[in-house]
């Protein structure tokens, strides 16, 4: 019997409100900051009242940053473009490689398969700095330093294990009998993979791709070390606002808003995939 008392319901409401406030407040504050000048931001005590300005966004779009010390050229839009290119292609490559690999790990248990899968996952545990310095040296030698391909390659360290492990779970949840039934009906293993396994794991693949995209988008260290200014994503680009004449909080806030907007939109859009993916188990068989 789950008759919660009135008091219980009220307490639960308060707890949820507190949680939401705690997690949402920084985002809300950043949004406010992005419409303010540095002066109003640095007021003491801080206040919610200010005259909103679009100057921060204008500066980012035009690439000209006017500060007290003079005018500075920044290429934020190029950073944004880099982020999109790096994230999209990294996820695409990771899906292309990771989904078939996940299927293989899910369906064919061979000697050492578990070890290989775990080794791949362990790449996620290593601190990025551990691999990034040797990689920087290698990349110099083989000419991959400061190229999109080099970065996309390194980004596989982030995306591939994620996709492999999430999608493998989804493939394992599909009853092998369903695939056997399709094969016995006269279809090749590849047709079975394409028409049965892929569609049934579809929501899971979408969810994994999305997570990988967000992780790739938020990456900082690899791009900082392995890319130069014209290949760097927004996360690194935001550093440019730490200028000799002070930190440009207003522009940073605007840059943050612009850079989280795509991932936020994607996450909201993909929520239904995540839910669908989780309820897939209920229709098995």
């Amino acid at each position: 019997m789950d008759h919660a008392s009135r008091l219980e319901r009220i307490l639960r409401g308060i707890a949820i409100a507190a949680m939401v406030l705690f997690f949402m407040f920084p985002i809300f504050w950043i949004l406010l900051m992005s419409f303010q000048t540095n002066e109003t931001i640095l007021r003491n005590p801080p206040s919610m009242a200010f005259a909103p300005t679009l100057s921060n966004y204008a500066a980012l779009l035009t690439g000209r940053l006017d500060t007290a010390a003079g005018t500075l050229d920044i290429d934020f839009m190029q950073n944004l473009k880099n982020s999109v290119i790096l994230s999209v292609f990294s996820v695409a490559v990771a899906l292309l490689l990771g989904v078939p690999a996940a299927y293989a790990f899910a369906r064919h248990k061979f000697r050492g398969s578990e070890d290989i899968a775990f080794t791949l996952l362990s790449f996620r545990f290593a601190p990025p700095l551990l691999v990034v310095l040797p990689l920087a040296l290698y990349f110099q030698d083989i000419g991959l330093a400061d190229t999109y391909i080099g970065l996309i390659w390194v980004y596989q360290l982030i995306c591939l294990p994620l996709i492999l492990w999430i999608v493998r779970g989804y493939f394992e949840d599909i009853s092998p009998d369903v695939e056997y039934a399709y094969r016995i009906a006269g279809h090749s293993w590849f047709a079975t993979f394409r028409r049965i396994a892929l569609p049934l794991a579809g929501p899971g693949i979408a969810a994994a791709g999305l997570l990988a995209f967000i992780f790739a988008w938020n990456n900082f260290v690899f791009a900082l070390v392995l890319g130069s200014a014209d290949k760097q994503p927004v996360t690194v680009g935001a550093l440019a606002f730490v200028t000799a004449s002070g930190i440009q909080y207003g522009q940073i806030a605007a840059a943050v808003v612009l850079s989280i907007a795509p991932t936020l939109a994607l996450a909201i859009y993909a929520q239904r995939y995540l839910v669908e993916g989780l309820s897939l188990g209920a229709v098995k068989g």
Binding site: S175, D177, V178, A181, R183, I184, A185, G186, I196, G285
Partner: protein, 372 residues
């Protein structure tokens, strides 16, 4: 001609041997039932024939062709799974159409094929539903239709009635023979229900612990089980088992039931003095008037109706429990003291040590199989 031929099939998973030298063949159009408790290896055997599991040793031949390295899609078999295994993202129509679509048949031919089996199985009105919108019975029929749609030479049915309710299971059991006859497919049917096995099988292969313990017609298996274990698997209520030691006097061999002499087949003379188990089918025991020759006094403990039968639990003077079954509606004492008589011609004698049946001498050994 044998459509399915299995020879010396062995299959191991890790350290467990699930199939231990299975040889079996089924003729064209025959329905061969694989019967046995769970864990006997029935399902693995079916999967091996379908080609989704590879044997460790032995040989599968279908239609005279060696199936080594032949993938499942090229074996021309149809299979229905116990859990139905419908494609959840396709309609019932597309599920059933999948074997036809695989052959790249014209759309018109596919439609005809699907509608034919759908009519046969009475699911033509739900063809455009997705599996999750189907009732359990409809799912089961869709799975069966899918197995039949491609008109396969070999039909593998893995306990297809397990997950449907009793009424539907009964209906399907009566309908299936007509369906299978119409399709003319050679059928291997896996079940744990002895009624299904007897009702549907032209022959039954009783599987125990990865081996075929007995192979024969339903009649052979019910009336002449190779071992006590098999006898206990067929029949509801289960066969009565009494420990006896056959003796001999001037009139021939006999056993003592409640100190009364009950003659047994003279051919069982060699069992005299051996510890045996006497198997008595509940329907082979009758209630009789006191004083009749061979009447054994019993106390009636409880009467429990069972389908169209009435089952009585009675205990003998020595406290042995005996189940007696009779058609419902026939009269019999319902409580207190009563007398029963045993038709010892129907009694089965088993060696208590090995569990194997002791065959009367001078009769043809009508039981084949690995029991020997």
């Amino acid at each position: 001609m044998a459509v399915i031929e299995l020879s010396d099939i062995v299959k191991r998973f890790k350290d467990a041997t699930v199939l231990d030298g299975i040889s079996l063949s089924a003729d064209e159009g025959e329905t061969l039932v694989l019967f046995g408790p769970s864990g006997a290896g029935k399902t693995v055997l079916l999967r091996l024939i379908a080609g989704v599991v590879e044997p460790d040793a032995g040989n599968v031949r279908l239609g005279g062709r060696d199936m080594r390295d032949v993938p499942p899609e090229a074996r021309n078999v149809g299979m229905a799974f116990q859990n139905f295994a419908l494609f959840p993202h396709m309609t019932a129509y597309d599920n059933i159409a999948s074997p036809l679509a695989a052959r790249r048949s014209a759309a018109e031919r596919v439609r005809e094929g699907v509608e034919r089996v759908a009519r046969l199985l009475k699911i033509d009105h739900v063809l455009h539903h997705s599996p999750r919108a189907l009732s359990n019975g409809q799912k089961q029929r869709t799975a069966l239709a899918r197995a039949l749609a491609g008109s396969p030479a070999v039909l593998l049915l893995d306990d297809p009635l397990r997950n449907v309710d009793a009424k539907l299971r009964f209906e399907m059991r009566l309908e299936l023979p007509r369906l299978l006859a119409a399709e003319r497919a050679t059928t291997l049917y896996v079940t744990q229900d002895y009624r299904e096995a007897m009702a549907l099988g032209d022959r039954i292969a009783v599987m125990l612990r990865g081996r075929i313990a007995q192979l024969g017609t339903p009649e052979e298996i019910y009336l002449a089980p190779a071992s006590l274990e098999i006898a206990r698997l067929f029949g509801d209520p289960t066969i009565n088992v009494l420990d006896v030691t056959p003796e001999r006097d001037a009139e021939g061999p006999f056993v003592r039931l409640s100190r009364l002499r009950a003659p047994i087949d003279p051919g069982l003379d060699r069992a005299v003095g051996r510890p045996c188990a006497l198997g008595l089918r509940p329907e082979a025991i009758r209630f009789v008037e006191a004083g009749q020759r061979g009447a054994i006094p019993v106390t009636i403990e409880a009467e429990t109706p069972l389908n169209e039968k009435t089952v009585t639990l009675a205990t003998t003077a020595r406290g042995r429990e005996i189940l007696v079954s009779r058609p419902s509606g026939t009269s019999a004492p319902t409580e207190g003291l009563a007398h029963i008589a045993v038709d010892s011609a129907h009694a089965l004698l088993f060696d208590r040590e090995t569990g194997l049946r002791i065959l009367p001498e001078g009769k043809r050994a009508d039981v084949r199989g690995a029991a020997a």
